[in-house]
Structures are given as C-alpha cells and as structure tokens.
Symmetry: C2
Subunit: 275 residues, 2 copies
Amino acid sequence: MSAFDDDTRVWPGDRPGRYTGTVHPAWNIGANPNGGYLLALAAQALRQATPNQPDALSITVHYLRPGLAGQPCEIDTQVLRSGRTLSTVRATLVQDGSARMELLAAMGDLGAAGSQPPPVIALPRPVLPPPEACPGRSASAQGVGLPILNRLDIRLHPDQAVPGAAGEARVSGWIRFADGRAPDALGCLLMADAFPPAVFGLLGMVGWVPTIELTVHLRGRPAPGWLMGAFWAQDLRDGRVIEDGALWDADGQLVAQARQLALVRSPDGGAKAPG
Amino acid sequence: MSAFDDDTRVWPGDRPGRYTGTVHPAWNIGANPNGGYLLALAAQALRQATPNQPDALSITVHYLRPGLAGQPCEIDTQVLRSGRTLSTVRATLVQDGSARMELLAAMGDLGAAGSQPPPVIALPRPVLPPPEACPGRSASAQGVGLPILNRLDIRLHPDQAVPGAAGEARVSGWIRFADGRAPDALGCLLMADAFPPAVFGLLGMVGWVPTIELTVHLRGRPAPGWLMGAFWAQDLRDGRVIEDGALWDADGQLVAQARQLALVRSPDGGAKAPG
C-alpha cells in the first residue's frame, strides 16, 4: 500500500451511508489540508456507497470551512439515484461537529486504462520539457510550508516555476506520487488541485487562494507514469477567479478536466475576504 | 411582468425551506422541459432561501430524471452555510413523488450591472455578425418541436445554423427573451443551456443530448440588450461530452461561464444509453 491509500482510507461508521476516516496532516498546504486531498478522501466514501460505479464522472465539492489536519472526520453519503450505468450521490464531510465540505457526484465506471474507445475530440496536450528538465514546485517560492511535497513530486514548466515570471495566469508541469504509487482515477481528483494556483503566474505570490467550489470530470483511467497537468485562468474579476485545468497520462490520454471558483485576495485581483 | 418571471415563480410551501411552483410546458425541447429553464426555476427557490445573496456565483445541477411539463413541483432547500458575502445552499426539485434535480450552489451578490471593478482577465468575446444577419434557431433543422422558441429569440452564426455544417463542435450566436424582458442573472442560468448542443456542429443532428450535470458561474449582471453566447466541446469520448460555454452582454462584459457533462447517443459519439 502507499501513503495515499493509507491516508484516504475510510471505514463504515455507526449508521448506513456514514464513513469515518482521518484528515492526515501530510497533505497540507501551510496549515490547511489541500483541497484535492480532501476531495479524494471524501470520494473514497462515495466509492463505497456505489461499489459498482467507482469513478467520479462528475464531482463537485463546495468547501464550507477549512479541514482540520490531524483530526478524524465523518462522511455522510446519500445515494440520490441508482442506475445501471450512472448513480448520483451526495455527501457531507464533518469534522469537530461542523460541515467542512458538501459534495455532489455522478458515479460510473470508466473501465480499465486503455479499454475505452478512442476519443472523438480531445483537448490537445501541451508541449512541455521532460520532467527531468522541469524544476520542482518550491515551498520557498510560494512563501508557505508545503508538507504535501513529501507526498507528491510536482515539476513545473521552467518558465512558470517562479510566481509572476510567466506574465500570464497559467501553470503546467508534471505530477506523480513521491512513493512510486501508480496514478489512478482517485489520484486524479487529488492531482486536479495540487499545482500552484494559475493566477500566481500573472500576479506573483498572492497568498492563499481559497477554493469556493471545484468540479472535476474524470475522463479515463490513467496509464502508469507521470501525469501532465495544465491549469489556466481566463476570467478574474472582483476577487473571484475561474481556473480551468486538465490532466493527461503518460500515453497522452486526457484523463481529467477540472474547473474551480476561487478567491484572490491580492489588491491586484480585486481582493475581498470571504465572510 | 414577463413570461419568464411568470413561469419561474415559486411560493413558500408547507414547511420552512420548501417552495412550490409549476414546470410550464412553454419552455420545452420536444416533450421535455429545457434544462436551463428548470435550473432557473429551481434558482428562484435558492434566491428566496438566501434573500440577501440573490446571485448564483456557482451553481451545479444534476438531472436525475426528466422534468414533467405542465405539472407542479416542490423545491426543498437547505442552507448549509450562511456567510456575510457567500452562502452555500442545496436543493432538490421533486415532481410526482420523484426527485428530478439535485442542486448545490454558492450564492452571493454581484451588484448592479456595471458596478463591479473591471476584470483583470476576461475570456475574449468572439466576433459575430450582428443579430439581424444571423438566422434563428430552427426546429426543422433539429427535427424536434421547440416550443421554447416562442419564449426565446435565438440567432445562430450563419456558418453554424445547420447541424453538421460547421465541421466542428461549436455553436455561437445571440439570445434574448422574445417578449422584450431585459436579461438578468436569473435569465443567464436559462440562457446558459438554451443553444443547440455544440456537438451538432460536428456530428449533425444526433437527437436528444441529455445533460447529466451542468455548472454555471455567474460573473456579472448583464446590461440590457442581446446576450452573445458561444458553446464548444473539446472532449468527446465513449458517449460522454464536456461542453463549455460563455455569455457576454451587450456591453461586451463576460456575464457567465458554463460547463456540462452530457450523453451523446449517436454511433459517431460512442453511444450508450443511460441506465
């Protein structure tokens, strides 16, 4: 087993549809658990609620309050509609008596990597230097402790590794588990929110960019190897940014798309604290 | 008052958080209520649940079963977190004893049209011929009755008006209420899902393209006049397509972004019926 499997494990709780787990501090960004890690943890409960449909074809999470690193959690799931090829499920992750995340997902079965018919249309994969030529995501460049970098090996395009250097709201690079675990559909949920915020490329390091809502569409199970990720923003106004992103596997297959609404508190971004 | 206001009106129901309304058949695509109309109807209940935060900064809907045109509905809302600038709400729309839609939204206040600071980044508006030079969306070109065209005036780019003619999964054009009602944030929810499916441009008329999940981000309240819409797909595989879209107002302001996961049942699209 890998650290990711260990740290996202959930167990049946004290009533039907309830699961329990722990928010491990190893996946923190500063003092807060990474949103992608929390999403993967909650998705483990969704998978148990729909065991024949393990893959999130669409999953939306709203972050109500920051997760509490190192503390137990309960995840309450409710299957809203159970179908032959698709089931719809909602879930709430609770810590210390407060709801931290609310989720809504369409669960299905993507089949084994490579088993799907070829795509009719697919978002083209960008051209990047190989991982060996890309510097690692750096805690010092971001001015925040990044315990998550002990768990994930994240390499950034050389022109985008320093906040503000790109001159545009775009970041791309490579990602894999640090312990050699192969990527899978669950890992894609984590990796869809593990790169630095794309707005850092335009605005420089503007501190925590809290996610209000994140939607990930899983499109295929990844082949073993590095995943390539690209994330960009084309819409930043009044302190709220829409960030789009995608992940491709080592075979060049598009395996996930992601979009999130996040808050940018910098003066340049039209800062406003959430309330 | 306008037809849209009349047909999306909801009233407080028999317990706190419950609202009642009617799914009017005037907004049908064939025999089924349009998904954007159902979204706007449900959003009226969300607005009443968070009266100081009338705008859906992010709203996700999962369509569990088709809506029943001409029949009453109940919308049960639950405020998950109530904040100063942002509240998170979920809702379920029920008809004839069955849940038809499940919704999850972050509600806020976009302020009056033109009151926001200018965007830092904004998705550029495409260049289109003026509405007078764009043919109307045609029921005969789609092979289905479109009662909704009595309520909405939809003009398509001349190169994209006939399914299959564009040779790419893209549709763009203009949209407004047929009775002259000005667009607003609520109307944008409808108009984010009122154009023909973008895949028609590539595959031709492939029948009903049922939406599994739709997420709309409202970005600004529109100025009076026509809205411009553009919708495109860059990811179609195994019978499932991701369609992206955006709306701009008459001043050129980006007012909404949308993304949906939908089923394409044509052989070309890798058809598979939902179950």
